[in-house]
């Protein structure tokens, strides 16, 4: 039917069909792509728009409901704030989000902003400039989720806007307003363009036909006449997990492509499969990889190539990391037979955690010019993807361009050349038309990777008198579905003394979706096991858990963090374990984190002057981790101007752009910062600071290079050089456990991070806060669930896959220890991963402190907690 609607004060006549939702009409029909579609099921709020002034969900509101209505999308919010004398047209809430950094990747931001504007306007009308408490804000915005975990900044922003501090541009009174994240204005107004927002003339839409069986062989696929499609199975024609892509088809509309994909005839011969890792490890279990050749097909769940290891059925490994390993085993064996107090042995289980970046995997490929391939890709590495695409399609890289202006999160799942890119490019080559392939949330939560589940057995032996570490063994089975190469136990080699120890990592493959690198791969998993074992040891000997770690720990940066943590009132006020008896029990826990230092020595940055303005550029991307801001601040510092006076060009890899680092392995900022400073410094040496007088186009380029004499491993692999030294973290968490309902609330988290100099403090804090939020998700809620009989992913929506909400956010206090990295250019290393290792483990230890029951299995859901307390685990 045809209807008339007023959108952002403009009257539009549009054709809608009966089943369409408002978000589809607004994004696809009206081209207003500021509004985002994330969950499609009413859970996340990303699609929020105002209809006659009321916030509604675009994904659940029928498009017909917009008839004769007045609709305001995020693009129209600014004008609503226009007559407040602000000058910049932004609504106070938008300014507050920018000032308080209430965003990271920005994909959830339009939804938050629209709803927060409605809340703010209501609140101000009723309460003037009183500040709403966190509970009021959390209730009002309970319909929103943010995967980056920008919740602390969101609280700060909403409260400040309600206090009236952002009524005028530039701030009011003593509140001087700043834009911390240079692209924040584009993100709070919906102007930022993500891959999912890209529309090309004549574009086709693609959809994936996936297997609903966990294993089998697919016969030849015949596409119906006139249907453009490609087969995406490997040569062996084998399906190994439920949800695996089989074919991709393209059509004029997304709905049509989906229908074609659904109806495609797929000749399929089912085969036996195995979902449960315990069954998979048994002799006689169906083999995921039947032959040696098949095993080569196994994808890797970690960032590097898997270590060579033996196969036995579905068991791959162990890969061993020994240091006097036989001695370690012998000491533990005899301590066990002697029943020594100093031997603590525990077994831990973790569930698979899904990345679920809010921008799904998405690609728009335009190969309509046979000589030049342009690919818009939601990726963590534009430069690397350009080379990989060229390689995959056998092209000269100068004929390939990869674009990712804004990336709505990745968390490790967007590092490689994934199938949606290959499929879209292939279909564009066939059709000579642009082709768009965007995953829906169901696909995203099924097959785009996960932090694998695991079982770890830890044996830690300390001296009964001094508690000096005598031996440590860690055995981890990782459950990464069809993927191999997990490195979890091995991470235990890097902490606490050089005592005899043995780490063994095993992959147990099953017909489950593949794991993938996830922010600090293996880190939170090993911390959950090791840090609780340490805590248990401290408890057994009545030692202060921080002081015990300090006794063992050779890392001077973490020593500094221990001193900081010990002095925290939260720590000093912690109760004796198991001392509480009431319904609500509070507890405090600590955990330490450790991570490697990586850098991309090939990173090159260009600084030039264009029309009197500084422009800095390289082929890097910004997925909310701050590349733009880091580049702007580096150059601004050299020229002594505001970061907003520097234009940043990134998110484009072509033959004109210099190589930039991938956003992974915590290598981005440490590669960019000093390189940008060097380029700016040499430009300044040439032209001074008179930009207006500088010749247009004058430029300087610098290359990062390795840290001289500083590499731990003398090779650079895939843009990564392993640098010398470890970054460090310590988290102290306070929880409240409701022993009646089994619910755990995290009240407060202190995060101490030792990565040297912090180049963009506000953004760095946001990253560390987000790590805490994701750690809380891992600790308490997040749990991929598969059907045991089919291997289908049941948690394929954001209702059943539960990520932390605004109201679950504790008070978070981030402390940076900035010493100790002077030998690295710029004086600091990356923090994206080290900040993510210890939060969940600290929550586990806090629950133990509160209840006397140690949670060994993640996540600590109410059912587990109730069962644990009931079973008399409480001491």
């Amino acid at each position: 039917m045809e209807l008339t609607t007023t959108v952002n004060d403009e009257t539009r006549v549009v054709e809608v069909d009966g089943t369409e939702s408002a978000v589809d009409l607004v994004r696809d029909g009206l081209g207003l792509t500021g509004t985002k579609l994330v969950c499609g099921s009413g859970v996340c709020g990303a699609c929020t728009m105002l209809v006659d002034g009321e916030p509604v969900l675009g994904c659940l509101t029928p498009a017909t409901r917009l008839r004769d209505a007045s609709v305001t999308t995020v693009e129209g919010i600014a004008r609503r704030g226009g007559d407040d004398g602000g000058g910049d047209d932004l609504h106070p809430v938008q300014r507050a989000f920018a000032h308080h950094d209430g965003l990271q990747c920005g994909y959830c931001t339009p939804g938050f902003v629209v709803d927060a504007v409605a809340f703010h306007d209501r609140w101000r009308a009723e309460h003037g400039t009183d500040e709403p408490d966190r509970q009021a804000v959390a209730e009002a915005l309970a319909g929103h989720l943010c995967r980056c975990g920008a919740y602390e900044g969101i609280y700060r922003a909403v409260a400040a806007a309600c206090r009236g501090e952002h009524d005028a541009a530039g701030g009011s009174g003593e509140h001087v307003e700043r834009v911390e994240r240079v692209e924040a204005p584009a993100k709070v107004t919906g102007a930022a363009v993500y891959t999912t927002d890209v529309v090309r003339p004549g574009m086709l839409h693609a959809a994936i036909r996936r297997s609903d069986h966990a294993a089998g062989v697919v016969g030849p696929i015949t596409f119906p006449d006139g249907v453009l499609g490609i087969d995406v199975l490997g040569e062996d024609r084998r399906v190994r997990w439920a949800g695996q892509p089989i074919a991709v088809v393209a059509a004029e509309t997304q709905a049509e492509a989906r229908r074609l994909a659904r109806e495609l005839a797929v000749p399929f011969t089912p085969e036996p499969f195995v979902i449960d890792p315990d069954e998979a490890a048994r002799p006689g279990a169906p083999l995921v990889y039947a032959t040696k050749a098949d095993r080569k097909e196994a994808p890797t769940a970690s960032e590097g190539a898997p270590m060579p290891a033996p196969w036995d059925g579905n068991v791959h490994g162990p890969s061993r990391a020994p240091f006097l390993g036989t001695l370690a085993k012998r000491r533990i064996r005899s301590a066990r037979s002697e029943g020594r107090k100093g031997l603590v042995e525990l077994e831990f289980h973790t569930a698979a955690q899904l990345h679920t970046a809010f921008e799904p995997h998405a690609c728009v490929a335009d190969w309509s010019d046979p000589q030049y391939l342009r690919v818009w890709l939601s990726t963590q590495g534009v430069a690397a993807m350009r080379l990989e695409i060229a390689d995959h399609f056998d092209l000269d890289p100068t004929h390939v361009e990869v674009v990712a202006e804004h990336v709505g999160g990745g968390f490790g799942a967007k590092l490689g050349l994934t199938m949606e890119a290959v499929a879209a490019i292939s279909l564009s080559r066939l059709s000579r038309r642009p082709v768009r392939l965007v995953l829906d949330r169901h696909e995203e939560l099924t097959g785009t990777g996960n932090r694998p589940g695991s079982r770890s057995r830890v044996s830690l032996l300390v001296d009964d008198d001094t508690q000096a570490v005598r031996a440590l063994t860690v055995d981890t089975d990782s459950h990464a579905g069809i993927a191999v190469g997990n490195s979890v136990a091995a991470l235990a080699m890097f902490l606490y003394d050089r005592t005899p120890r043995l780490a063994r990592d095993v992959d147990v493959v099953t017909n489950a979706p593949p794991g993938a690198p996830f922010r600090g791969p293996g880190g939170p998993t090993i911390a959950w096991a090791l840090e609780q074992t340490v805590d248990e040891t401290a408890h057994r000997f009545g030692r202060d858990p921080i002081e015990l770690r300090a006794q063992w720990d050779g890392n001077p940066k973490r020593q500094a963090l221990y001193r900081w943590a010990s002095a925290l009132p939260t720590w000093q006020g912690r109760p004796a374990t198991g001392s509480q008896t009431g319904r609500y029990r509070r507890g405090v826990g600590v955990a330490a984190g450790n991570w490697m230092y990586f850098v991309d020595p090939d990173c090159e940055v260009v600084v030039r002057v264009e029309a009197g303005r500084l422009v800095v550029s390289t082929a890097v991307q910004d997925m909310g981790t701050g590349s733009r801001t880091v580049l702007a601040r580096a150059v601004a510092g050299v020229f002594d101007v505001e970061p907003t006076a520097v234009d940043v060009r990134l998110g484009l890899a072509n033959s004109g752009a210099t190589h930039g680092p991938a956003s992974g392995g915590s290598r981005t900022t440490v590669s960019l910062w000093s390189t940008a400073v060097d380029a700016a410094t040499s430009l300044r040496a040439r032209i001074g600071t008179d930009l207006a007088g500088a010749p247009d186009g004058v430029s300087a380029t610098a290359k990062r290079g390795g840290d001289r004499g500083m590499r731990a491993v003398p090779v650079t692999m895939g843009g990564i050089q392993v640098g010398r030294g470890f970054s460090a973290a310590v988290h102290v968490s306070e929880v409240e456990v409701d022993t009646r309902t089994g619910k755990t609330r995290v009240l407060r988290v202190h995060g101490g991070i030792a990565v040297g100099r912090i180049h963009a403090p506000v953004l760095a804090r946001s990253q560390c806060e987000g790590s805490v939020i994701q750690g809380i998700g891992l600790a308490l809620y997040e749990n991929q669930v598969l059907d045991p009989h089919t291997g289908l992913t049941l948690t394929a929506n954001l209702e059943d896959y539960r990520i932390p909400q605004l109201g679950d956010t504790p008070e978070i206090d981030i402390h940076f220890h900035e010493d100790g990295w002077d030998r690295v250019p710029g004086g600091g290393v990356g923090l994206g991963e080290v900040a993510t290792i210890s939060p969940a483990a600290s929550v586990g230890n806090a629950i133990f402190n509160a209840t006397g029951w140690r949670p060994l299995t993640l996540p600590v859901r109410p059912d587990r907690l109730l069962e644990g307390l009931r079973a008399g685990g409480a001491r």
Partner: protein, 321 residues
């Protein structure tokens, strides 16, 4: 792929009661707020003919008379939470405690009663079960962490409607285009037919929900046990309404629980224990314990036995004040 917005009925004197199915035999669906339907359409790609009820006169009307209060099927959950807080606090608190603010703004009482199950198998595009044309329940031998703890029916997922639970405590009735005065239990059934979430005919429109007159002095409490802050489907939810005399003795009450059985359960035994008591500690403890009586959990829902008791205890303590 078409839509009828039923404003044609504007001209009909009989408004809501004049509704019937569309001409022809094609697939069709009624739509109210769309918060359940739109998600299912997106997932399945189905394109039925839509009969949109929102334009029908009286759809969102609240009428108060001496005989009680009549709620049009289109009264939103947000309106219940806001406008009935004084007269029907148990219903209002339940309404205010479900879903999210944006969902409550759009969702209707009729749609809430008639929404389809939230079982993760049912919502999965690649499974079929009793409720989606299949002939088995894969959750029973599969994963049913959020399943029933009173396992009394072939389908093991609880009925989703929180409002149905609250309406049970008022003995509210439901009118449709074909029948009047149905008890909530007659609308939802008892779960013995696992293919259905409600028993209305395909072309039957829920028109009104009728509540008895408000009980002066009614006090109420609602609570859901969940793992996060808010906006999560309940593991177990409970609601209580009581009227007490000057001495604090309960003269009448209603208690119901959800998230536990094929349909929400009104707990007559608990009500009997509470009536005549002053909600003293001992009575509350006994009443809460009796709430879980008869529970026969599934392999993964054993935890809900304790949670039923805990959740009922929680609302009783809250209503006691």
């Amino acid at each position: 792929m078409s839509v009828t917005i039923l404003t044609a009925y504007d001209q009909r004197p009989d408004g809501l009661d004049g509704l019937d199915g569309p001409d022809g035999t094609g697939e069709f669906a009624y739509r109210a707020g769309g918060t359940d339907l739109q998600e299912r359409l997106r997932t399945t790609g189905a394109t039925p003919h839509i009969l949109d009820l929102t334009g029908v006169p009286g759809f969102a009307a609240v009428e108060r008379t001496d005989d009680g209060t009549t709620l049009g099927a289109g009264v939103t959950v947000a309106a219940l939470a806001r406008d009935l807080a004084g007269d029907y606090p148990a219903l209002a608190l339940t309404a205010g405690g479900l879903a999210t603010p944006q969902v409550r703004t759009a969702a209707t009482i009729g749609g809430n009663l008639l929404q389809r199950t939230r079982c993760w198998y049912f919502r999965h595009p690649h499974t079929s079960c009793f409720k989606s044309g299949g002939d088995s329940c894969p959750a029973r031998d599969g994963r049913h962490l959020y399943g029933n703890v009173f396992d009394t029916a072939p389908c093991v997922h609880p009925h989703p409607s929180s409002l149905a639970m609250a309406l049970l405590t008022y003995a509210a009735t439901v009118d449709t285009t074909q029948r009047d005065g149905l008890a909530v239990g007659e609308v939802l059934g008892d779960g013995s037919d696992p293919t259905r979430d409600h028993l209305l005919a395909d072309d039957e429109v829920l028109t009104r929900v009728v509540l008895p007159p408000p009980a002066p002095g009614e006090q109420a409490a609602y609570f859901r046990s969940i793992s996060r802050f808010e906006a999560e489907w309940p593991l177990v939810e409970a609601v209580v309404r009581v009227v007490r005399d000057d001495a604090g003795t309960v003269t009448s009450c209603g208690v119901a629980i959800g998230g536990v059985a094929p349909v929400p359960l009104r707990l007559a035994a608990v009500e009997a224990l509470l009536t005549g008591s002053t909600l003293d500690d001992d009575t509350v403890a006994r009443a809460a314990a009796s709430a879980a009586q008869g529970a026969n959990p599934l392999p993964e829902t054993g935890y809900k036995v304790a949670l039923v008791e805990a959740t009922v205890r929680e609302v009783l303590e809250r209503v006691r004040g």
